[in-house]
């Protein structure tokens, strides 16, 4: 365990340079918490259509978004907000951010998201 932790920390320290030339390595869960405090809400989108929401936590020395709601599928074409299991819009639920907020977190407007999805870009 301690060895594991030291190993991870060391890797984090030495990895910066080699990381830079390794192409588009990404982790949405880590990026979603880059400028957030522990316990703050976070969300991210996988494959242009899977919507993850949760809170920022530190796991094994890394701050990342820990999902605590079921994964939702976004219908960006009709710009609808994901619904919960009772069929209600999650936009009414204070736990959820609006789609626009999510896209803003990823540096996109809803329109840009739709275009990106139409072009089959993944982010």
């Amino acid at each position: 365990m301690r060895t594991h932790t030291i190993f991870v920390l060391y890797l984090c320290l030495v990895s910066t340079n080699s990381f830079a030339h390794s192409g588009h390595i990404f982790s949405h869960a880590i990026e979603a918490c880059e400028n957030k405090q522990i316990s703050q809400k976070c969300s991210y989108i996988v494959g242009g259509e899977k919507y993850y929401t949760g809170t920022c936590q530190v796991l094994n020395e890394v701050k990342m978004c820990v999902r605590n709601q079921p994964v939702k599928t976004i219908d960006a074409d009709s710009a609808t907000v994901p619904k919960n299991n009772t069929g209600n819009d999650l936009s009414d639920d204070p736990k959820f951010q609006t789609l626009n907020e999510i896209f803003a977190n990823q540096g996109l407007t809803l329109n840009e998201f739709s275009v990106a999805r139409a072009n089959k870009l993944s982010f």
């Binding site: 982790s27 949405h28 094994n60 890394v62 820990v66």
Partner: protein, 336 residues
């Protein structure tokens, strides 16, 4: 919703592929009712959540180096209490370890394990994925010999240890990394001290490198450091159970893929797969209807009358089990 159901089917299929090993003698189908429980009270002596502790009978006997005993222990918050001492032998009792890396780019999914990088995707680690890493991760990725199609795999102990160290030997960059449990005495024994009755915390605490133990005797680890692994142009391959081997800890899980969900609940709730270091149970992500709960807290836990407070594992694609601890933790150490 179609995608969610597809994921469920995928995970179910993976679990079937991965868990077709030998059956143990433990009877399944029992409900979580015989576990020791205790009500806690707040400062006003009002009853709060029922604390339901670990049930040692749920572990496979063959997963353990010695029978589970109770012993005095001190938890992370300073509480002196009684803990279960669980000593695992370091190999899963109900299925084989591996396979991890495919050896040729023509290999199919049965000849390799899985890979997840925390981006929300779970990849079958077959030969095609080895080729795909160049597209996925960058042009400097070359995990196979373009002439022969052979995958660069760390297939000796020297290679495994040169690649599974912080300063990856440049010779073993651009490798699919795997280690054999035979290099480490056939399994690394570890001793867990887990409170017999969980002690709730007022604020959650962070998860570290290891966070619990599965019922089949495998260490449940925190997220794999996939960014660092990828930075060395390596894939630290997982088998179809979400586990792999490193020289320090032996075999351990980074994801819940159904291989230790051996206690079946009767009320439709997800199955128990193991316990966290704070003594709370960790259950699979989905219930018998294939659905996930909506009321999980930031640690991915919630309470019910039968189970008290407990956690639900995240999906393998998320590279994690739980988000934090809601209870004071015991400890885990390697048995020398």
């Amino acid at each position: 919703m179609n995608h969610i159901y597809m994921l469920v089917i995928l995970f179910g299929a993976l679990a079937l592929v991965a868990c077709n090993g030998t059956e143990d003698t433990l009877s399944t189908g029992s409900d979580i009712t015989s576990t020791s429980s205790e009500d806690t009270t707040d400062e006003n002596n009002n009853a709060t959540t029922t604390q339901i502790g670990l049930n040692p009978d749920y572990f496979f006997d063959s997963a353990l180096s010695e029978p589970i005993e109770t012993t005095a222990c001190t938890l992370t918050d300073g509480t002196e209490t009684l803990c279960y001492e669980i000593v695992i032998s370091g190999v899963p009792s109900n299925n084989e370890i591996g396979p991890f890396c495919p050896t040729h780019i023509d290999d199919d999914a049965t000849q390799g394990g899985v890979w997840f990088d925390g981006s929300g995707e779970l990849y079958q680690l077959d030969g095609a994925f080895i080729v795909y890493t160049k597209t996925l991760y960058g042009d400097d990725w070359q995990l196979y010999d373009e002439t022969t199609g052979e995958v660069f795999v760390t297939d000796t102990q020297i290679a495994c240890e040169a690649a599974a160290r912080p300063n990856v030997d440049p010779e073993y960059q651009n490798h699919c990394v795997e280690c054999a449990i035979e290099y480490y005495g056939g399994g690394v024994a570890q001793k867990f001290l887990i409170p017999a009755s969980p002690i709730p915390l007022s604020t959650p605490e962070q998860v570290g490198a290891d966070l619990g133990v599965a019922l089949n005797g495998v260490v449940i680890a925190g997220p794999a450091p996939v960014s660092a692994i990828l930075a060395a142009n390596t894939i630290a391959a997982f088998d179809d159970c979400g586990g792999h081997i490193n020289p320090a800890e032996g075999y351990h899980y980074h994801a819940a893929l159904g291989c230790s969900n051996i206690i079946t609940t009767l009320d439709g709730h997800a199955n128990l797969l193991g316990y966290a270091l704070d003594g709370y149970g960790i259950y699979a992500m989905l219930n018998s209807e294939g659905e996930e709960d909506y009321d999980l807290d930031e640690c991915r836990g919630h309470s019910d009358d039968s189970r008290g407070y407990h956690y639900h594992a995240a999906s393998a694609a998320e590279n994690m089990f739980i988000g934090c601890y809601q209870g004071a933790q015991g400890s885990v150490e390697i048995v020398q």
